[in-house]
């Protein structure tokens, strides 16, 4: 099966600033792909080039074999786009927004009307089809934007930070909506939420300064890049004494305490034995290794400095 997306050295420069720098990638059909990166990393620029909203300075990408540079119109027939900001037409009702989208894609009413009914039903928007988007909650508007992107059954769906600004319930509802699609199309999403990427994506790339830093599944990235050895230790007694003791151990690089519970970061795997030797076995109520999170991998790779 041919790849859903091939990106070959895609580059975008604005004068001396390189927003995307020779970015390359190949995605198999049916992948849920997550692109992570801090603000200004180049994620949105990359999506804008892939969705033909922006011409690359150099390089090319192929969606189902169609070039974004030379076959923009054919590419646009194959993709669905959920932009960062809701761009629903507030002067059209929900149904009219969807009909306009279908007509722009050259669909006949006999094709799009049943599909609109089905999608509105699936997303719980059926009863609001004749209302204007301005009267919808943020979560409902977002669901409508996703439905709109799906009306023509795209082969590759782009979602640029689809859940930003949504409450946890709306985020979960949108995740569910996306999970139902994974068998039908390839999904390319950018997000700032690590739990979202962890939960939804088969494959993740973390990018910064326009370039790809790492590529793999959430589990692979955590195993490969989370170097910290973090333990949670709960003691039965003598919390103060043990705190002083742990602070003196050279193997402990970081220590947090709440009553008799400690979060201890050790220098390496071999540091566990000296730690255990320092505690009387009867004093330990519980000790466990903390799984590294995707967020730690992300921060490790892109730094902790706040970006503009």
């Amino acid at each position: 099966m041919s790849p859903a997306l091939i990106i070959q050295g895609l580059t975008k420069r604005y004068g001396s600033l390189t927003a995307v720098d020779r970015f390359s990638l190949e995605l198999r059909q049916g992948t849920v792909f997550g692109l992570l990166g801090p603000n200004g990393a180049g994620k949105t620029t990359l999506i804008k080039m892939l969705t033909t909203l922006m011409r690359p300075t150099s390089g090319d990408a192929f969606i189902q074999g169609e070039s974004i540079v030379t076959a923009g119109k054919r590419v646009r027939a194959l993709i669905g786009v959920v932009p960062q900001e809701n761009n629903l037409d507030r002067y059209l009702t929900a149904q009219e927004n969807l009909v306009l989208h279908a007509r722009l894609h050259g669909m006949a009413p006999r094709d799009y009307l049943p599909r609109i009914d089905r999608f509105l039903e699936l997303t719980g928007l059926s009863s609001r089809r004749n209302d204007f988007p301005d009267t919808f909650s943020g979560g409902m508007q977002r669901r409508l934007v996703v439905v709109r992107a799906l009306i023509h059954l795209p082969r590759l769906l782009f979602l640029d930070e689809p859940t930003t600004g949504l409450d946890p319930q709306s985020r979960r509802a949108l995740w569910e909506q996306l999970r139902t699609l994974r068998s039908e199309m390839t999904i390319f999403l950018t997000t700032h939420y690590m739990d979202e990427a962890d939960s939804l994506c088969d494959r993740i790339v973390i990018m910064d300064h326009g370039a790809s830093l790492v590529d793999g599944s959430a589990q692979e990235l955590k195993e490969r890049y989370a170097h910290a050895h973090i333990y949670e230790l709960e003691l039965r007694r003598d919390g103060d004494r043990y705190e002083e003791l742990f602070q003196l151990l050279p193997q402990v690089t970081s220590l947090e305490r709440e009553r008799d519970s400690f979060r201890i970061v050790l220098r390496d795997e071999e540091s566990l034995k000296p730690l255990m030797d320092s505690i009387q076995s009867g004093d330990i109520r519980r000790i466990c290794l903390v799984e590294p999170s995707l967020e730690e991998v992300f921060l490790d790779l892109t730094g902790k400095m706040v970006r503009e």
Binding site: T51, T52, L53, M54, R55, K73, R74, R76, A77, I79, V81, P83, E85, N87, L88, D89, R90, Y91, L92, E96, L100, H101, R103, L104, H105, G106, R148
Partner: protein, 252 residues
């Protein structure tokens, strides 16, 4: 289908216009009707005939034309600006399998349709409330002028809505460029009032070609070929400009 996208966008604009048609027409009729009553009726006692026709008859075709082209300009400019800057629906159009031509032509047709509808509304009100009349056989030629004028102003509106980011600047363009060009083109006075040194420049203005040509077409059924040629060339240039400007600006 050719222009599928343009017609879809035009269809969208028609739905929106239909919802607010009454209030739109009410507001659009008010201004030219006031001008007609003020100048055509108010000054009737002071200005009896201009170029062989009563003053009210002299200004009526220009007022109808002005309503049509201003409506075309405003619809195109504000609609493009709103879709680009506020709703960002232009982005939704641009990720659909249509071309830049579809978007620009769709907006031009919308501007043109708004101009036609509002021009007809003003014409009807002037016909009903005043003694203004014209030979019906002249209507075809007059509409040709109005169509070209609406197209030019629609293209101009599209360009303004594309390049101008601050909404107040669209109003400024209208006040500083559009209105003076319209008023300089002999809607309210004959061009023979201009000094001979200025007249050749005024005669070459597309707005002069539009208002003079439209008046002549409606009242006499004839027009100077130069007027028509100026309008045709201007319409083609402005259309190309609108497409090029939209294509370049929208990617920034």
């Amino acid at each position: 289908m050719i222009l599928r996208g343009a017609l879809s966008i035009f269809g969208r604009d028609l739905i929106v216009l239909r919802r607010s048609l009454f209030s739109e027409l009410l507001s659009v009729v008010a201004s030219p009707l006031t001008l007609y009553l003020a100048f055509g009726v108010g000054l009737k006692g002071y200005i009896s005939q201009v170029e062989g026709v009563p003053y009210g008859v002299f200004i009526a075709p220009g007022l109808i034309s002005m309503t049509a082209v201003l409506a075309a300009f405003e619809e195109s400019a504000w609609s493009m600006w709103f879709h680009r800057r506020v709703q960002k629906t232009i982005e939704e159009y641009r990720v659909s399998p249509i071309t830049v031509y579809d978007i620009v032509i769709g907006k031009l047709i919308s501007g043109f349709a708004q101009g036609a509808i509002k021009g007809v509304a003003v014409a009807l009100v002037i016909f009903v409330l005043t003694p203004f009349s014209f030979p019906l056989r002249n209507l075809g030629l007059y509409l040709l002028f109005i169509s070209l004028g609406a197209m030019i102003f629609s293209c101009l509106g599209t360009i303004c809505g594309t390049v101008i980011d601050k909404p107040e600047n669209i109003g400024r363009i209208q006040a500083v460029v559009i209105m003076p060009l319209i008023f300089m083109s002999g809607i309210f006075f004959p061009l023979s009032s201009y000094p001979p040194s200025v007249l050749p420049i005024i005669s070459l203005l597309p707005t002069t070609a539009l208002f003079e040509g439209a008046r002549s077409a409606l009242l006499t059924g004839s027009c100077g070929p130069l007027h028509l040629a100026i309008l045709l060339v201007t319409a083609v240039i402005f259309f190309i400009l609108a497409v090029v400007v939209f294509d370049r600006k929208i990617e920034e």
